[in-house]
């Protein structure tokens, strides 16, 4: 068995006097997809933000490739891609400018590849239109274009199917399956009924959250 990328050990998170989860432990292995499940307000997004390193009000440990993540933050960030509720798209910039800006801090990618990636998400012809004139679904597709050029082994995707049409959902599902088959690790939350061969579940919201 291969070495886990990210390991959560006894995670506990309390928010506004409510325990969202506690003693939560799981490993994220290459070639697996983990679906975080639970009712609204059970802390799915919070867990993903903790895993991504955006939220650090938790107790417990996060191990990146077997080491405490705090000491390897840069290495972790280079190898992790996070897409949140908010797409990270500037309305005043065009899709191609947005993609360029998002990649600028990570890798230098030739412009040709970026144009192709946008075409690949069904945005062909819209590459140079300001994003505020695009629909919500199209804006999300700009963000999703990153998945086509991503080489990060760990993806953390929050509500990744939101605002995407049926064709898009099917295509995106296929992309995720291929990714996992090729050894990528993916953590998702989604209300979409996702069925994948190598899927694991992490279920939140067991207790009422108030007991101690």
């Amino acid at each position: 068995m291969s070495e886990p990328l990210l390991q959560a050990v006894n995670l506990e998170c309390e928010r506004d006097d409510r325990v969202l989860f506690r003693d939560l432990s799981f490993s994220i292995l290459p070639g697996t997809l983990i679906r975080v499940e639970g009712p609204n307000g059970s802390g799915k997004t919070t867990l993903l933000r903790i895993l991504a390193g955006l939220n650090d009000s938790y107790s417990g440990d996060l191990l990146w490739r077997g080491q405490r993540r705090d000491g390897y933050r840069e290495d972790f960030l280079r190898n992790m891609l996070y897409l949140g509720h908010r797409p990270g798209i500037k309305p005043l910039l065009t899709p191609i400018e947005n993609l360029r800006a998002l990649m600028a801090g990570r890798r230098s990618v030739p412009d040709k590849v970026l144009w192709q990636a946008l075409e690949g998400t069904g945005l062909g012809g819209f590459q140079a239109v300001p994003c505020h004139s695009l629909s919500a679904g199209q804006q999300r597709r700009v963000a999703l274009a990153r998945l086509l050029i991503a080489d990060e082994p760990l993806w953390i995707l929050d509500e990744v199917f939101t605002a995407i049409d049926i064709h898009g959902v099917a295509a995106l599902e296929k992309l995720l399956i291929e990714r996992v088959e090729n050894g990528g690790a993916i953590v998702v939350t989604t209300h979409h009924d996702l069925r994948l061969p190598a899927m694991q579940r992490v279920t939140l919201g067991g207790g009422d959250g108030y007991d101690r």
């Binding site: 991504a52 390193g53 955006l54 939220n55 650090d56 009000s57 840069e74 960030l77 280079r78 992790m80 996070y82 949140g84 509720h85 908010r86 797409p87 990270g88 798209i89 500037k90 309305p91 005043l92 910039l93 400018e97 800006a101 998002l102 600028a104 801090g105 990570r106 890798r107 230098s108 990618v109 030739p110 590849v113 192709q116 990636a117 075409e119 690949g120 998400t121 069904g122 062909g124 300001p130 999703l144 998945l147 086509l148 050029i149 080489d151 064709h167 898009g168 295509a171 995106l172 296929k174 992309l175 291929e178």
Partner: protein, 241 residues
């Protein structure tokens, strides 16, 4: 729509240096601002209008304006920077680009520094360029107009850098604008004191090199410390969202 999520593109892995990443952040902020020129103009108009209030509200006498001119201009500049700070991180926070910025593999304080510098170029620098005109209107004499511009040139980046801390701390809060002012105004006082004091000294013919050097020291201190505080504050605000 024929092709959807079909191409799986792999590009050569050329990782990006910190300087390139900083430049990208800086350029992106300038580009966005230039697409909305009205937002750039508003703090400048505010600056001019606040300065106009003083001759109207206090006295148009040359003797008063000569005395108070540098203070009026400095207070107006300070307020107009303060007014523009609310936007520094708010839009990025709302559309999610701030999350992506924090997750970039470069040291966050350097990216924050790039953002603060972009903020200065977009708000502080135009104020410096506009100041001579207003300086003449409040009857500052020859040399003191130049000194005023020099103090603003050194002082306004400090305002942007310190202001960035307040903007990061109040990110995502209700009524963040007023709270931001409450937090930041006391921290602006030294810059204001030395900014106006230097111009006053110049108008009395006293040497000002020492004061200017001291303001330079403020700038160096703000450049080295403020980005760390802003970065820490951003992480806290994002943790809370």
């Amino acid at each position: 729509m024929t092709a959807e999520f079909t191409v799986n593109l792999r590009s050569p892995d050329v990782s990006v240096g910190t300087a390139t990443a900083m430049k990208a952040v800086f350029v992106r902020d300038l580009k966005i601002a230039l697409r909305q020129p009205q937002d750039l103009l508003n703090p400048l108009l505010f600056f001019v209008m606040v300065v106009t209030l003083f001759p109207l509200g206090v006295s148009p006498e040359v003797s008063f304006l000569e005395q108070a001119g540098s203070g009026i201009l400095w207070v107006a500049a300070l307020l107009s920077v303060l007014l523009s700070l609310d936007h520094l991180y708010r839009h990025d926070f709302d559309d999610g680009t701030l999350e992506q910025l924090v997750l970039q593999p470069q040291p966050l304080f350097l990216l924050v520094l790039a953002k603060s510098m972009a903020h200065w170029v977009l708000t502080g620098l135009p104020l410096v360029l506009l100041a001579p005109v207003l300086g003449v209107m409040v009857h500052l004499q020859g040399n003191s107009v130049a000194v005023l511009c020099l103090t603003l040139l050194i002082g306004t980046p400090v305002l942007s850098l310190i202001g960035s801390i307040g903007a990061a701390l109040t990110l995502g809060l209700r009524a963040a604008g007023v709270l931001l002012s409450l937090l930041i105004i006391p921290l602006y006082i030294p810059v204001l004191i030395f900014g106006t004091g230097t111009v006053m000294a110049a108008s009395e013919g006293a040497p000002v090199a020492g004061q200017l050097a001291l303001m330079g020291a403020f700038l160096v201190l703000a450049l080295t410390l403020a980005p760390f505080a802003s970065a820490a504050a951003l992480r806290i605000s994002l943790s809370n969202s």
